[in-house]
Amino acid sequence: MKSEVDILLIEDSLDDAEMTIRALKKIKLDNNVVHLENGQEALDFLFAKGKFETLRLSSQPKVILLDIKMPKVDGIEVLRRIKSDKRTRMIPVVIMTSSSEEKDLVTSYKLGVNSYVVKPVDFENFTRAVVELGLYWLLANRSTQ
């Protein structure tokens, strides 16, 4: 199984995931989006373990959108694992969270997050934020790959 992934969305809230994907759809960036519902799945996916053992990615995702508060393995832990493994270290990671806690922000930047976005409460702003993120990380930003 070989596939290309542009955006890896790691989000336990199906509602938020749906709204995110809808926003990306508006700017036609929804083709290569993979949505995973928790941290453990995300790690398995990235390091080809568990149910993703047979997964062979042609390239790493162009950006990972990561929620913090998730069951089992939370976003901070996922971020730590991504940034401490040389295979995944170069992937841009954007934290998208409802939490505006200073503690989470500081920890994330210490771990090397590329961007930290507080999910706007209202839908319009939320949609706008996702659109800007998608445009920036997929089109404007030049990564190492």
Partner: protein
């Protein structure tokens, strides 16, 4: 004002109470000793002085008596000797012959009377004082004064006298006159003149006997001449004529002198012994010096003893003070070892007990505080976790509500009837409202926990950006704004901005129903603070509700009139209070409101 203070300081007088005990005790003992020493020394000195003077007088009286009797004895010997010679036959015959016979027999007799060089002249007179024969220094004109020297106004037979002292040139002479008698008749006089001159040996003996500073004078009883046995000296400064007795006077050389005068028997002379009082008081002065030395030694010893004693008292006190200071600085292990069982020892014991109890109490207190702090920290953590949950878990469903309502509106607007659209709008509005409420609540609860980051805030610039932001958000620019000069403050820029945003948006919001809305922003200054204000001409409020204004969820207007969460002013108050400032307002219904907040003029770093 400054000079008054200075004067007051200068007027501060010395007080015993300001002295430490260690100094006070020796000072008191010193004063006491000094009083005793002075009183004792003075009375005994006066007594000793009086006794010394008495003794001195007694001594010079004895001396003068001895000397006078010695001189008198010598004078008696001289007169009787001369009288014997005067009545020897050769003299008698010569006088009887009227001086006309040969002098071969008389002259050797006269010459024999010149025992040494001091016997300067021997003369022989007849009864009418006509000179008959003379031998020696005949050139001396002594006889001219003879009448005044010896008055023989009523001479008796066998009489022989010594005359007054006579001065001729630098020398002093006296005459011994013996009557020459025959058959109890005056027939002539034998006169022997003698130079009064004490030999060096005699003077040395005198001064050894009397002392070098004692003056011995011999003078005529009528006070006409005084001599020191060699030459004429000035008369002693007596206030009366010389007479037998004691005198006291100031000598021309300075100093007080005591003298005694006694007549010398068989002569018309007085003898005077003058002793400087200094000499008489020598013993008394020695005694005074001893008293002074002893007194000083006693005083020093007394002060030293008192100092030792007071140190003995104050040393434990100092130890106690040091221990108390140690305890005050937080070290409760300090204890005092004085090693005595008097009052100070008991005090030290009580102190140690107290220190131990205070130490224990503090230890317990610390334990309690520690426990409470742990509990508080736990509660605080729980509260943080709670607010974290609130911020995350309340937002997520809310976003879903508003998100899907929006999607419904976007995707199905054509298929929903107007009522359904209106209800969808209601869902969206309320979801937004609740979102703001959550944001405000979170920042309100955060305010109590976060440190404020102080810096210099350019208020003018900040207010201008807040006004611009507010007007842009409101979308209508019909509100007139006037911004007066605003001094900078020292505070957390983000927090102060929240306050301004709140007050400015309130002013814009509540004045929006005025046809000519106007907002004025300025500042007044007092000694220690700046008071900033925001004035509007909006709906205002009744002052009886003013106290409710800054409470959580307190609103004076309905949501329908003016929307709001009821948290904005509560948050502003929290922020200003954290900056050690005050916030308040003045208003009346329908006539606008003024909101003030003051910030202390802290020293800018």
């Amino acid at each position: 004002m400054g000079s008054t203070t200075l004067q007051k300081k200068g007027e501060k007088r010395f007080s015993l109470k300001d002295l430490s005990i260690q100094k006070r005790l020796p000072l008191l003992i010193c004063i006491l000793l000094l009083c005793v020493i002075i009183a004792f020394g003075l009375t005994s000195y006066i007594g000793v002085k009086k006794a010394a003077l008495e003794m001195g007088r007694e001594r010079i009286k004895t001396l003068s008596e001895q000397l006078s009797s010695m001189f008198g004895q010598a004078a008696k010997d001289l007169t009787s000797g001369t009288h014997t010679v005067a009545n020897q036959p050769p003299i008698k015959n010569y006088v009887l012959n009227g001086g006309r016979g040969p002098d071969t027999a008389a002259l050797p007799v006269l010459q024999k009377l010149q025992l040494d060089s001091s016997w300067i002249l021997v003369e022989l007179y007849n009864a009418q004082w006509k000179p008959l024969l003379r031998t020696g220094a005949t050139e001396l004109k002594l006889n001219k004064n003879l009448d005044s020297v010896i008055s023989f106004s009523s001479p008796g037979p066998d009489s022989c006298k010594i005359g007054k002292l006579v001065q001729v040139g630098d020398s002093i002479y006296y005459a011994i006159v013996a009557a020459v008698t025959d058959h109890k008749q005056f027939i002539g006089y034998l006169v022997r003149w003698r130079l009064q001159k004490a030999t060096a040996k005699a003077i040395a003996q005198f001064s050894e006997l009397l002392g070098s500073d004692v003056i011995l004078l011999v003078g005529n009883a009528d006070g006409t001449l005084w001599s020191d046995m060699n030459k004429v000296v000035s008369a002693p400064p007596l206030d009366t004529k010389p007479k037998d007795g004691f005198f006291e006077y100031a000598t021309p050389k300075g100093g007080q002198a005591t003298s005694t005068i006694r007549p010398i028997a068989f002569t018309p002379w007085f003898l005077l012994i003058e002793v400087p009082q200094q000499r008489l008081l020598e013993a008394a002065n020695r005694f005074r010096n001893w008293i002074l030395i002893l007194g000083s030694i006693l005083l020093i010893a007394g002060i030293f003893a008192a100092w030792l004693m007071s140190r003995n008292i104050t040393k434990p006190l100092k130890t106690l003070t040091a221990a108390a200071a140690t305890i005050a600085s937080g070290d409760y292990s300090a204890s005092v070892e004085i090693g005595r069982s008097d009052e100070l020892g008991k005090l030290a014991g009580a102190f140690n007990t107290m220190a131990q109890q205070v130490g224990n109490a503090r230890y317990n207190l610390e334990k309690i505080v520690e426990e409470r702090t742990t509990q508080l920290q736990k509660a605080n953590k729980e509260l943080e976790a709670f607010s974290y949950s609130v911020s995350h878990d309340l937002r997520a469903p809310l976003r879903s509500i508003s998100g899907f309502a929006m999607i419904l509106k976007e995707d199905y607007v054509a298929r929903l009837d107007p009522e359904a659209n209106r209800l969808t709008d209601k869902i969206i509005t309320n979801a937004k409202m609740m979102g703001r409420l959550i944001d405000d609540l979170i920042s309100f609860s955060k305010m109590g926990r976060t440190e404020i980051d102080r810096q210099i805030v350019d208020m003018k610039k900040l207010v201008e950006s807040c006004v611009a932001e507010t007007l842009q958000r409101e979308g209508e620019n019909k509100c007139q704004t006037e911004i007066h000069p605003l001094p900078a403050c020292y505070g957390d820029q983000n927090l102060i901005k929240q306050v301004w945003m709140n007050l400015i948006s309130n002013a814009v919001k509540y004045s929006s129903k005025n046809p000519v809305p106007r907002v004025e922003i300025g500042c007044t200054e007092s000694d220690d603070k700046h008071t900033y204000y925001v004035r509007d001409n909006g709906v205002g409020f009744d002052m009886k509700y003013a106290h409710k204004l800054f409470g959580v969820f307190q609103r004076l207007h309905s949501q329908k009139e003016f929307e709001g969460t009821g948290l904005g002013l509560a948050l502003a108050k929290r922020i200003i209070n954290q900056h050690n400032g005050d916030i308040w307002s003045e208003a009346s219904t329908g006539e606008g409101a003024v909101f003030y907040f003051s910030l202390p003029k802290s020293k800018l770093p």
